[in-house]
């Protein structure tokens, strides 16, 4: 009797477990082919790693909403996968834990102004899917000094943060140009800016985007400072994903391609609906009116429409986040306008 009673409870539990295993097995069978994409859809949320401390890239505004180019990149990718940019979850990461967070699956996309280098792509088990900002080392000088080009900085004193790639870049640059300079090494950001403003050094050197932001933060005094046109090193800041999930990688890459094509065609957040009736074949494929572009990527056919509706095209992202910092678009423009952003055809 006792044995029977035990089975009486055990049988439904076992049956339930078996059914559960079956249910999971079948869910796997009709997935998208990307484990990350399936998991993201199951959760209804995309975890995107950002810095959360860099103005223009990712910084919460007074209401706590993350703003910036990196933040909008996260929104675009989320709109492509989930159809709704609001489903993004911003995870603040530090320079030290950003790669671990991606490797361990705490985040699914890393969009944290990370320079694309061979070492990083080769060693970390991570891939760079696209470059969302082509940065480089630049110089900021006072207008009163009358300097027009970096070539005129011979024998200058330059404020620079120790141990950064900037320090190496200017050392190389001055050696190649056969010029001399005196570095003033200051670690703390506010101190180095204070030293430059008080005239301890002739020029202040770091990534051009940071220099432009600093200049902008001076408000009415910004006009006293000049950002020299010379960019002396390459710092392509990219979006990273884990290696081994190619479909996920494709999704990020083609989200960018879609935003670039949209800019080429003049499709914006505001007017995207009017293009749904367009007769241009590439526009029709882009917006999912005809063809199976989205499906090939494991996405909704209208993924590009969702992206544009959420954040606009690449130029709009730039205008919203970077233009207010006073940074000209330069090499970040489309290839048709002398920049580097070039999308493969959508067909």
């Amino acid at each position: 009797m006792t044995r029977f009673a035990r089975w009486g409870i055990g049988a439904p539990i076992l049956a339930g477990l078996f059914a559960g295993v079956l249910a999971i097995g079948s869910a796997r069978a009709d997935g998208s082919g990307s484990a990350t994409m399936d998991a993201t859809r199951a959760k209804g949320q995309l975890a995107c790693g950002v810095s959360g401390q860099v103005p223009g890239f990712s910084l919460p505004d007074s209401q706590g909403v993350m703003r910036g180019l990196d933040a909008d990149t996260c929104r675009a990718v989320t709109a492509a996968v989930l159809g709704d940019a609001a489903k993004v979850k911003f995870v603040p990461t530090t320079a030290q834990n950003r790669f671990t967070a991606l490797q361990s699956g705490e985040i699914d996309v890393l969009s944290r102004s990370t320079t694309w280098t061979l070492g990083r792509e080769g060693n970390l088990g991570l891939n760079f899917a696209w470059v969302n900002y082509y940065d480089g080392t630049g110089f900021l000088v006072k207008k009163a000094a009358g300097v027009k080009s970096a070539k005129e900085l011979d024998n200058a004193t330059i404020c620079v943060q120790p141990g950064t790639s900037t320090e190496l870049a200017i050392a190389d640059y001055f050696r190649v140009s056969k010029m001399k300079f005196t570095p003033i090494l200051i670690q703390e950001l506010s101190e180095i800016q204070g030293a430059f403003l008080s005239g301890r050094c002739d020029a202040y050197s770091t990534d051009a985007s940071a220099l432009a932001t600093f200049r902008f933060s001076q408000g009415p005094k910004a006009d006293d400072l000049v950002l020299l046109p010379d960019i002396i090193s390459k710092e392509p800041l990219g979006v990273m994903v884990r290696k081994g999930d190619d479909k996920w990688f494709d999704m990020v890459r083609w989200t960018f391609a879609a935003m670039i094509v949209a800019e080429e065609k003049g499709i914006t957040q505001a007017n995207v609906d009017t293009f749904l009736t367009s007769t241009d074949p590439e526009t029709r494929r882009l917006l999912g009116v005809e063809g199976e572009m989205g499906k090939a990527l494991g996405l909704d056919p209208k993924f590009a429409y969702n992206v544009i509706k959420a954040v606009g095209n690449l130029g709009e992202m730039w205008d919203r986040n970077i233009t207010p910092m006073g940074v000209p678009r330069g090499i970040n423009n489309l290839w048709t306008k002398g920049g580097l952003q070039y999308a493969p055809p959508m067909r």
Binding site: F90, Q96, A101, E106
Partner: protein, 436 residues
Amino acid sequence: MSDAAVARKIPTIGAVAWLRANLFGSWVSTAITLALGYIVLRVGIAFVDWAFVNAIWHVPYSKTGIAETAVCQNTKGTGACWAVIVDKYRLILFGRFPYDEQWRPAVVIVLFVALFALSTIRAVWRKGTTARWVQRVALAGAGLIVLDNAVDLLLIVASVGFGVHISDPLAPVLEMLNTIGKCGLVFGLLLLWPAIGVWVATLAVIFMLMSGGILGLSVVPVDYWGGLPITLILATFGLAFAFPLAVLVALGRRSTQMPAVKTLCVVYVELIRGVPLISVLFMASVMFPLFMPPGINIDKLLRAQIAVILFAAAYLAEVVRGGLQALPKGQTEAADALGLTYWQKTGFIILPQALRLVIPPLVNTFIGFFKDTSLVLIIGIFDLLTMGKVALSDPPWQSFSTEVYVFLAFIYILFCYGMSRYSRGLERELNSARGR
């Protein structure tokens, strides 16, 4: 009556006499008093000028919502720009918590302060009823919670260790039992030991308010928590769990009959004390996830919280051990002579006296840890101090760090001064027996 004092009618009590005795006793002390008084007055006036008279509270905003801080830039150095606090105080206090839901962290802060205030009343800590049925309810509640967690753990082990993914058909039932268990436990504790019950209940409400998901509150992931609630959660949970652990470790380290336990405690304390808090946090944040199988993510805040608990416990254990060593051996021997068991002896004779002796260094460690919680910045958790820095990263406000740091210092002082005031009161009360 030829005394000069009487002739000049110099009072010997009251404010004037106090001034004479303490500030103007001799010409040297008069000179020092005047010089210091002058400095205090000058600095005080300058501060009032800066903070209130010349301060700017509002700046205009452009059409795109960007603050135009030109007014502030012009008064820089002569007047404070409190407009930065007006603009950013919600970001600093509540972090990135959804704007419309920020009443939740606000209530959490109030609850914490109320909890602290209530805990300072000694009557609250008295034992409640000892009724047998209440004990049974509490035990049953704890049992249900353990059951649910054990099943969850089993499923995780099965999925990670053996690759068997089981969807738990009993999950809703277990979830319900867990909820009933929690209610039973809190109810039982409230009657058995009101103070502990109030703590458990308040912390549960705080957790519920922050994370949401029930009673129609929207779910807010931990990544969106920030500001003062993070500081208070890390410090309060940290010290609440670290203190009992510290007492056990201190007792273990002094154990004479269990060498294995003693060695374990020594190794634990020395290992944790031998490394900086940053490296423990870093280990919890960067190394730990790499050891875990893919797909298993233990929440970042929880990892940091455990690191803080382990770290604080090691330091507190040594403070407690200091108190244990200061007790005369006669106390232990007398307790032994009375035939008390180890736990009776420790609970009723040793600890009450030992802890009383070490209140100052205990509070010292508490205050230190309250401030150390800001180190969680390095693992991407944004506490009060870091939110201040984030607010300062906004280009229009970048040059107004003094105002933001003064604001942050004010908040820290409120909490730390509260702690030291309470400890002084406690010391006076507990040591009143010795003054006799």
